[in-house]
Amino acid sequence: MATFLKSLLAAAIGVALGLTATWLAVERGYGFGAVSSGPWTGWPKTGSDGADPYARAVLARTGEVPLGLAEGLSFTARTDEAGAKLDPTCDYIVTGPIPPARYWTLTALTPRGLVIDNGAGRTGITSAEIVRAMDGSFAITLSRQARAGNWLPLGNTSDFVLLLRLYDTPLSSASSSIGTTPMPTLRKERCA
């Protein structure tokens, strides 16, 4: 009887552990093959035949459709340059360089991937609308308050992530070079 109970207990603990591991795996990132540069992380393979089982599981659960490898690359930042979690009560400055791409967009979304409402009705900024300095450089300010120049409003949210999408980029075909490509910096300014 004791043996039976013990085996039952062992099986129950095993199932619980296994499901916990699965839950942790799908809650964090998209499996293997992550490429990182500073605060930016991308999973280029999720948009291809080569997506690993973890990436497939995450996508099946969230229902998102990642950018295909030939369409472009998407990078997510959850922290600033210093590694501190992004906080919508703070101001942030994003400065170049941005890797070559036909277009790029920078978007603030909730950690679940929803649009964040804000008074200005702007949810992102694109390479076509950016205002550049004489030397071609630019800075984007992320803030809840209106800012001069390139302003990306942060709406009324407790949490946000930044998505940088490089559309039609030559980087797609050489994913190994992503880690060494200069990516924009994401610096925290003052906080409210």
Binding site: T22, D49, R56, E64, V65, P66, E71, R122, T123, G124
Partner: protein
């Protein structure tokens, strides 16, 4: 100290059970990860199945702060879908690609995995002409190919009978959404008829 020794003895005494639990955990973990694409009730395919008819291009609603058909879509894009079911017919996609705006195409199997993707730059002679089909249909089409010329269309073999194509059109400025929408309007999806029979 005594209790620590007791704990150690309990652990050693039960080590076969602990090992068993770990093995069960491993099996459950691997099985659940591999099974998730087959069991997830709200994957992209299921969401799109309710939002769009077969063999027809359908523009998806703009994501809002309350809901999004698919999370993490770029709010600067207009997104459309063509669903297909090869049990009924191959899918034909046609349209002009002028190259003055960014259009993105990704082809997904039943489980959401991308089996092909391209941009408007990948078009043949400024036109989109894609045929999505299965192996049997591909052989049937190839049987009618002239021997001395290459096919004028891009033929994509779908790994599953059902699937979907996502078309994204970028509106680089807030005011250019109507143009982005119009570019999608020029793309047609339809069931390929038996015109070669």
């Amino acid at each position: 100290m005594k209790s620590l020794t007791n704990l150690r003895e309990t652990l050693i005494g039960n080590s076969p059970w602990i090992a068993g639990a770990i093995i069960v955990a491993g099996i459950v973990h691997i099985t659940s990860i591999l099974a998730m694409p087959y069991l997830a009730p709200k994957d992209a395919f299921a969401r799109l199945e309710q939002a769009a008819p077969l063999n027809q291009i359908t523009v998806l609603p703009q994501p809002s702060s309350a809901s999004a058909l698919m999370p993490f879509e770029d709010p600067a894009t207009v997104v459309a879908v063509c669903r297909y079911d090869l049990n009924q017919a191959p899918l034909r996609m046609r349209g002009p690609l002028s190259g003055d705006g960014l259009l993105l195409f990704s082809f997904h199997n039943r489980f959401g995995t991308t089996f092909y993707s391209m941009t408007d730059k990948g078009a043949l002679r400024g036109r989109l002409d894609v045929l999505v089909l299965n192996q049997t249909q591909l052989e049937a089409v190839e049987a009618f190919d002239p021997e001395d010329e290459l096919p004028q269309e891009l033929r994509l073999l779908s790994p599953t009978q059902r699937g979907f194509v996502i078309v994204r059109s970028l509106a680089p400025e807030p005011g250019s959404r109507p143009q982005a929408r119009a570019r999608i309007g020029q793309i047609a999806c339809e069931a390929e008829g038996n015109r070669r029979d």
